[in-house]
Amino acid sequence: MNKLWIDERYCKGCLICIDACPTKAIRPSEKLNSKGYRLPIEENMALCKACEICVLMCPDFAIAVSEE
């Protein structure tokens, strides 16, 4: 299964990655982080095809996907 990586230092919770994901493999967290952002978390990484559109569209260089 592909692995999701979020850099919590860089992510500003804009959620562009979640909207861009064609397979809905990720979703926003319910919990707010210390800055008040909802970060992307895994929904079902089995759906992830590592197309990396999330990586491409992230404004903050905060997301990465590794293929297993």
Binding site: K3, D7, R9, G13, L15, V55, C58, P59, F61, A64
Partner: protein, 278 residues
């Protein structure tokens, strides 16, 4: 593991950590930087161009912040509107530079408008990326030369009474060689255009409609979705279509400043070789 483009950025330096960027959540400028670095990464690999040849120059405004201290490239974050002039200087010193300008609609359309049209007129070899959010973001949402007539901003509280610039058309008539427009919702197309612009000898102007969620008072996701519906590929646009045309508008070959000037320099150099042989 980390984002693949971080290899081109200075996460930290002798005086501390440099990321995250100063940009607001969901800012389109961050996306444009991401697309640009993808394009540069591909060019470095495909064309075997040394990383040292890339040079990023910006003026003032949110978009220009991309060039502050984040990039692990040579860069200059200069004066409002003056990036085209500074870039011209770099090119005069060393025409081998692959110059990428990060500008905004206020930077290039208003305060730096004159420098912008003259770079195009001279067809200087640089790629101008204009992040158009149709207002001044950094100073709090004032009217820009690209703001549509009738829009309300902090300096048009009763509505904008002026016409707005179409920057792509301006670049075209000013003499640029390659002109294209995309939005941040078109990453693959934008990357293709940026690569083409970097490879193109002469001035490339690429306008990228780029969201400012803060001043638009909408989420980045909402604006990105609207970019898909509010735009139309220029070649598919029918008469009376009110959608914003996107795509490549101009791609021509014409003499570029440096090549033309080099011929003059070479004529003196060959005269000198002749002198020495005699």
């Amino acid at each position: 593991m980390k984002h693949p483009m971080l290899k081109y950025m200075k996460e930290t330096g002798p005086c501390g950590d440099r990321l995250p960027t100063i940009l607001c959540p969901g800012c389109g400028a961050g996306q444009v930087l991401n697309y640009t670095l993808h394009a540069v990464d591909q060019i470095i690999k495909e064309d075997k161009i040394a990383k040292e040849r890339f040079l990023f120059i910006s003026g003032i405004g949110c978009s220009s912040r991309l060039t502050t201290h984040y990039l692990n490239f040579d860069s200059a974050w200069t004066l409002h509107g003056r990036a085209p002039a500074v870039a011209t200087g770099a090119l005069l010193a060393n025409p081998e530079f692959k110059i990428i300008l990060f500008t905004g609609d206020g930077d290039v359309g208003a305060i730096g408008g004159n420098h912008f049209i003259h770079v195009c007129r001279r067809n200087l070899d640089m790629t101008i990326l204009c992040m158009n959010n149709a207002l001044y973001g950094m100073t709090g949402g004032q009217v820009a030369p690209t703001t549509p007539r009738g829009d309300y901003t902090t300096t048009t509280p009763y509505g904008n009474v002026e016409n707005s610039f179409v920057l792509c058309k301006l670049a075209e008539v000013a003499g640029a060689s390659y002109v294209a427009r995309w939005t941040t919702a078109h990453p693959q197309q934008a990357i293709r255009s940026i690569k083409h612009g970097i490879r193109k000898k002469g001035t490339s102007f690429i306008e990228i409609l780029s969201q400012c969620p803060v001043h638009a008072k909408k989420s980045a996701v909402e604006i990105l979705r609207s970019y898909k519906t509010k735009t139309v590929k220029a070649k598919n646009a029918e008469k009376g279509d009110n959608r914003i045309p996107i795509g490549e508008f101009l791609d021509i070959e014409q003499p570029e400043w440096f090549e033309s000037f080099q011929k003059i320099i070479d004529s003196f150099a060959s005269e000198e070789r002749k002198d020495q042989n005699e």
